[in-house]
């Protein structure tokens, strides 16, 4: 059974379609990458899954349940977690508190602190634990958000451009992390423009264009696809 499935999902904003009869499906344990030109509707697709946008038509199924009528927080509670494109952190709060708020529903007391410390180590913000999150550099904010998203151990992790603003080495580290999480059984859907990263992690790739599924397949199939090269990849020697 698919863990995430959309059926004829459609959304438009006064004429602009950001999703047009999307039938998308993911199996548990999969790592899937969503790519596509700027404005193709990738982030909007995430917002639809999360319930921040109401679809104009169609349904969304998660883990065998129709979640279309559910509110955002109810969907999250079913086991979804997200890292947004624009870091959605609590800017006036400390880094530590950001993580505490993300984790406090699962853990408490000492195990909570221990867990937070572990996450901090991992995202290399241990020294900044007491810093105001808004004072972090852009890349550090990205890491914090990734830390918040993955630490709650969702069934489905949504990552919107996780490596934007990261150096190649950090990108590789993120890729390793994603793979490890996946090995533990987490399903992951990532939006990304960095093809190195996509190649590193993805089993399946879906290309969105003008709100429609434009192509689907393995990374090699996609890279080889002329049409994708034309609208998206350009004449890249990479990948």
């Amino acid at each position: 059974m698919a863990i995430l499935q959309t059926r004829d999902l459609e959304k438009n904003f006064g004429g602009v379609f950001v999703a047009r009869s999307i039938n998308f499906e993911m199996q548990p344990g999969e790592i899937h990458c969503l790519i596509g030109p700027n404005g193709a509707g990738k982030s909007s697709f995430f917002r639809l899954i999360l319930g921040q946008h109401r679809p104009t038509a169609g349904t969304i199924w998660f883990d065998g349940q129709d979640i279309t009528p559910l509110r955002s927080y109810q969907r999250i509670r079913l086991g979804i977690s997200v890292k947004f494109q624009v870091p959605g952190i609590f800017k006036a709060l400390s880094v530590w508190q950001n993580l505490e708020i993300a984790l406090q529903d699962n853990l408490q007391g000492d195990s909570l602190s221990a867990e937070i410390r572990q996450v901090l180590d991992f995202i290399e913000l241990r020294d900044q634990a007491a810093e105001r999150a808004g004072n972090l550099s852009h890349g550090q904010q990205q890491w914090l958000e990734i830390g918040m998203a993955m630490s709650v151990k969702p069934k489905l992790l949504l990552l919107d451009e996780p490596t934007a603003g990261m150096s190649p080495q950090e990108t590789a580290k993120t890729g390793d992390m994603v793979r490890t999480l996946n090995a533990e059984g987490m399903t992951i859907l990532a939006v990304e423009h960095d093809m190195t990263f996509v190649r590193q992690i993805a089993q399946q790739v879906t290309v969105l264009h003008f709100g429609e599924i434009f192509a689907q397949g393995t990374i090699d199939q996609i890279v080889a696809d002329e049409r994708v090269a034309k609208i998206y990849l350009g004449k890249t020697n990479e990948a």
Partner: protein
């Protein structure tokens, strides 16, 4: 542009610890370094959005350290911030119109060229900028500065969130601009492609100081750059 012993930071917290750097007219120079080392801070200080606590910034041999941002902008300094900072409740066209402020007297904005670089902006001219996708916003931020035809452009991670073929386009366009109009470019970047495609020289920052500088030859070898990015 010349920077001598520049120090700057936020409130009491120093970030830049004495940066010395020189960018010649018509050069394209990259600044690289890990997260949080102070690259964006450097850009903000150059633009005057952060006061310098010590040191000097010279543009065309004029000391501008105490000059306010809008005056620097009118002297021909264009800045494209990290995180785009478009005017969210204004339309795309209005956003671009703000960029016209930079124009020198008597010069008209060249929208044709802009729309040629970024066709999507023409399509979305009346959409509110806040509702654009991330990559579209980034394109708008770049276009907005180009409208004003600055002499020097400060670019903070221009490729972030932009689809690969447009990244290549941007790199090409910036190079064209540089060649045709002699525009000087100082940019911060983490994307290897962009760096190798664009930069003529490169500085590496760590902990608020310049720790290395790479020549054109070094840049031809992706491995060297990769190593410095991982520093």
């Amino acid at each position: 542009m010349q920077i001598i012993g520049l120090r700057s930071g936020y409130g009491g917290k120093p970030v830049l610890q004495g940066i010395d750097l020189e960018v010649g007219k018509g050069e394209i120079v990259a600044v690289i370094g890990r997260n949080g080392v102070g690259k964006s801070t450097l850009m903000r200080a150059l633009m005057g959005l952060l006061p310098a606590t010590a040191g000097q910034i010279l543009i065309a041999d004029r000391d501008v350290t105490q000059v306010s941002p809008h005056k620097r902008a009118r002297m021909g300094l264009g800045y494209i911030p990290q995180g785009r900072d478009v005017f969210p409740r204004m339309t795309v066209a209005e956003n671009l119109a703000v960029g016209e402020t930079l124009l020198k007297r008597g010069i008209d904005p060249d929208y044709k060229r802009i729309y040629q670089y970024f066709p999507v902006l023409k399509e979305r001219a009346t959409q509110r900028a806040g509702t654009l996708s991330g990559g579209q916003q980034q394109q708008l931020a770049i276009a907005r500065v180009l409208v004003g035809r600055p002499d020097i452009i400060l670019l903070d991670e221009p490729s972030e969130g932009i689809q690969p073929n447009i990244v290549q386009d941007i790199a090409r366009n910036v190079r064209d601009l540089n060649r045709e109009l002699g525009i000087t470019v100082l940019f911060v970047e983490q994307n290897l492609d962009m760096i190798t495609l664009l930069a003529q020289r490169c500085f590496v920052i760590d902990k608020g100081q310049i720790v290395a500088s790479l020549s054109a030859e070094d840049l031809n070898d992706p491995e060297t750059v990769r190593r410095h990015l991982a520093l």
